[in-house]
């Protein structure tokens, strides 16, 4: 069954999707239910995103006043921001988002009206573009763009980096307490440890439907992180329901505080969280109590910075992107955030030699090889996305 046939079947079998499909057909004039018009780049088919508006002109003065940032919690160093504010004579205010999909919905309905968005990934980019929420960057303001990891200067999701500049890189895996779980527990199928009922009440998974469903798929040996196969998606949902029954995991993005505080023994999360966690360790706790299992085949990716079309301070937004792409600033930012900046100069060796990374977390660092081997996670076609979300609701509805 071809992809197109599959989607058509879907449209017939699922009521909700039939509406979507017929609406689309009515609006677009085309009878195809597959093409939603989303520009989805994959490593095999990189995409040059459409541009509907011009970037700002060269050499504009910095705006005075406020720069509004939308970011994940604890994903920027207040100290770095304070330096930026001083240097550019402005005020930076930051709103927080918890999930990418909610953030996009709120950007569309006007809840959030930031100038600059930090930490979005390619799973949300196609929608941001389709909703016409972003403006193309003017690189003349971002000389530090040259510092970005060379492989990410024209990424598959945004050829020529028209809209995005990479921020941090990380991989998906399992964070754990080394005082409660032995490293060897992850020797065979490491994910099974998460399903082990002895960690009931002490486990957590990411509140991110793409990441957590994908994790369940990996556990079952299905390594297409963007699958459209309804059976595989359904199986992942089943497995997560089984996980819920086995360990009753928390579903949030707080592994970085909950593991160090001892509230959790094990948590499926982003590798960078464990470095953030170092800061949250109680004062008398040794750092090597934190461990991370980095699966051999897993999602490894970067998130990025981008500027909204409606930005009121686009020049300052460019300046902050440039500021954060400077090696020294990025290192300072990392001290608080913990994640690895997506800069060529900040190598794994450099980080290890800084002496802040305990032996037990060396494995959580994303080396170029790991990054290269990482599986991409891209935007999904809406009809497929619906399948994923339905399974996610099954899991979270308990």
């Amino acid at each position: 069954m071809g992809r197109r046939d599959f989607l058509r079947n879907l449209a017939i079998t699922s009521g909700a999707i039939t509406i979507g499909g017929s609406l689309l057909a009515a609006c677009g004039g085309s009878s195809s239910t597959e093409s939603s018009g989303l520009s989805i780049g994959t490593p095999q088919n990189p995409v040059k995103l459409p541009v509907t508006t011009d970037a700002i002109a060269d050499g504009l003065p910095n705006e005075s006043g406020t720069l509004e940032v939308l970011n994940w919690a604890d994903y920027q160093n207040p100290e770095s921001i304070a330096i930026f504010e001083k240097e550019f004579g402005c005020k930076v205010v930051t709103s927080i988002y918890d999930t990418e999909e909610a953030a996009i919905a709120k950007l569309r309905n006007g809840t959030f009206k930031p100038d600059l968005i930090l930490g979005m990934t390619d799973t949300g980019l196609a929608k941001l573009i389709a909703a016409d929420l972003l403006q193309p960057l003017n690189k003349s303001y971002i000389p530090n763009f040259g510092n970005v990891i060379s492989g990410l200067r024209s990424p598959y999701y945004d050829l020529d980096s028209q809209y995005t500049v990479p921020y941090f890189i990380y991989g998906n895996g399992i964070g754990y307490r080394t005082d409660r779980i032995d490293k060897n527990a992850f020797a065979s199928n490491g994910y099974d440890t998460l399903w082990d009922s002895q960690f009931k009440g002490k486990a957590g998974v990411l509140d991110s439907y793409r990441d957590t469903l994908t994790m369940a798929m990996f556990r079952a040996g299905n390594f297409d992180a963007n699958t459209a196969d309804a059976a595989i998606i359904q199986k992942a949902g089943d497995d997560l329901v089984a996980l819920r029954e086995a360990t009753n995991p928390k579903v949030d993005i707080l592994a970085y505080t909950e593991i160090p505080s001892g509230n959790r023994d094990i948590n499926f999360t982003w590798s960078g969280d464990l470095f953030t966690a170092l800061q949250y360790l109680p004062e008398n706790e040794a750092p090597d109590v934190l461990g991370f299992w980095y699966p051999e085949k897993t999602v490894a990716k970067n998130d990025f910075m981008c500027i909204t079309k409606s930005a009121k301070a686009p020049v300052l937004a460019h300046q902050l992107i440039n500021f954060l792409s400077d090696t020294d600033n990025a290192l300072l930012n990392r001290e608080y955030v913990g994640y690895q900046p997506a800069l060529e100069s900040i190598t794994v060796d450099l980080l290890i030699s800084s002496g802040t990374i305990p032996e037990s977390l060396i494995d959580a660092l994303v080396t170029p090889e790991k990054y290269e081997a990482g599986l991409a996670q891209v935007s999904l076609e809406p009809a497929v996305d619906a399948l994923w979300l339905d399974q996610w609701t099954r899991f979270t509805a308990g």
Binding site: L70, V93, I96, N109, G110, T111, P114, L254, P282
Partner: protein, 290 residues
């Protein structure tokens, strides 16, 4: 027999004091931990004021975001009061005096928000402001409209109770003495409504400053973040005792307003020869007669 009653009374006394301890001591502990010297909200590491004032970044009075939340909360509370008080007084008077089917309609409409779960009001307003009245931006304006809507009913209830207890005789007397309906209202009734107005101010202030659900549904990021929103979003994170300090500040603010209100109410009563004092003032505010 008497012995058994005493026995029961004793166990009831036990229960009530147990309840009071259960309901208050955890809060007191949380207040105490706002003075913890360490970063922990659960392990005591000595006394300090660092989370209140001394820490240059994290203490509540020196952290920009916290200060922003405090000022947002205060602005929202005062703005709501400004709008809801006249609206509520007028509605209370009007709804008490119209008759017939429209009276039932108005009464039904005013009482329903009082018992509708906040999440329903919040959700309905969110969908309204994002899809129907799209001219209303989420954030302060939407939060103001939402809070007025939600607290209107409590003003009406408080003022109506006072109207009922005043009765019609004063106004009638004024009318007999030649006052117009409007004059009777302006110079006789309105001044007598003062206690209920004060009680409404206190109740609305406390409601809005504590409100979480509606304010959060209608917020637009950090620009309209209030203190409860800030508390809520950090309880789950790795928050420091600054969180306790912030929550304590919130509690202190509502208590300060409550005490000022009670004091004002009982003074007013004393001055106007009404009986009751503190007890009546409490009844005004809680709408429960003791």
């Amino acid at each position: 027999m008497a012995h058994a009653t005493n026995h029961r009374n004793l166990s009831l006394k036990f229960l009530i004091w147990g309840y009071i301890i259960w309901s208050l001591v955890p809060v007191l502990i949380a207040v105490i931990y706002s003075f913890n010297d360490g970063r922990s909200r659960t392990v005591w590491q000595g006394f300090s004021l660092r989370w209140w004032i001394t820490d240059p970044y994290a203490s509540i009075f020196r952290n920009d975001e916290t200060r922003n939340a405090i000022s947002n909360s205060l602005v929202l509370a005062f703005a709501t009061i400004l709008v809801v008080t006249p609206l509520g007084i007028a509605l209370a008077i009007g709804s008490q005096r119209i008759r017939g089917r429209s009276a039932n309609f108005v009464q039904g409409l005013t009482s329903t928000p009082l018992i509708t779960p906040e999440i329903v009001v919040g959700a309905a307003l969110l969908l309204t402001f994002t899809r129907l009245f799209t001219a209303v931006p989420l954030g302060f304006v939407a939060q103001l409209l939402g809070n007025v809507t939600f607290s209107l009913a409590s003003v009406v209830v408080i003022v109506r109770a006072r109207l009922v207890s005043i009765g019609a005789s004063f106004e009638e007397a004024a009318r007999d003495l030649g006052a117009t309906r409007w004059q009777a209202l302006r110079f006789v009734l309105l001044p007598m409504l003062w206690p209920s107005v004060m009680a409404s101010l206190v109740v609305v202030f406390a409601t809005v400053i504590d409100d979480f659900v509606i304010t959060s549904f209608l917020s637009a990021g950090v620009s309209s973040e209030t203190v409860p929103l800030r508390i809520y979003s950090s309880v789950r994170g790795g928050a420091t005792p600054a969180l306790n300090a912030l929550a304590t500040l919130l509690v202190l603010t509502s208590f300060a307003v409550l005490i000022i209100g009670l004091f004002g109410l009982s003074t007013w009563r004393k001055r106007h020869g009404e009986r009751g004092g503190l007890r009546a003032a409490l009844a005004d505010v809680t709408q429960i007669n003791s």
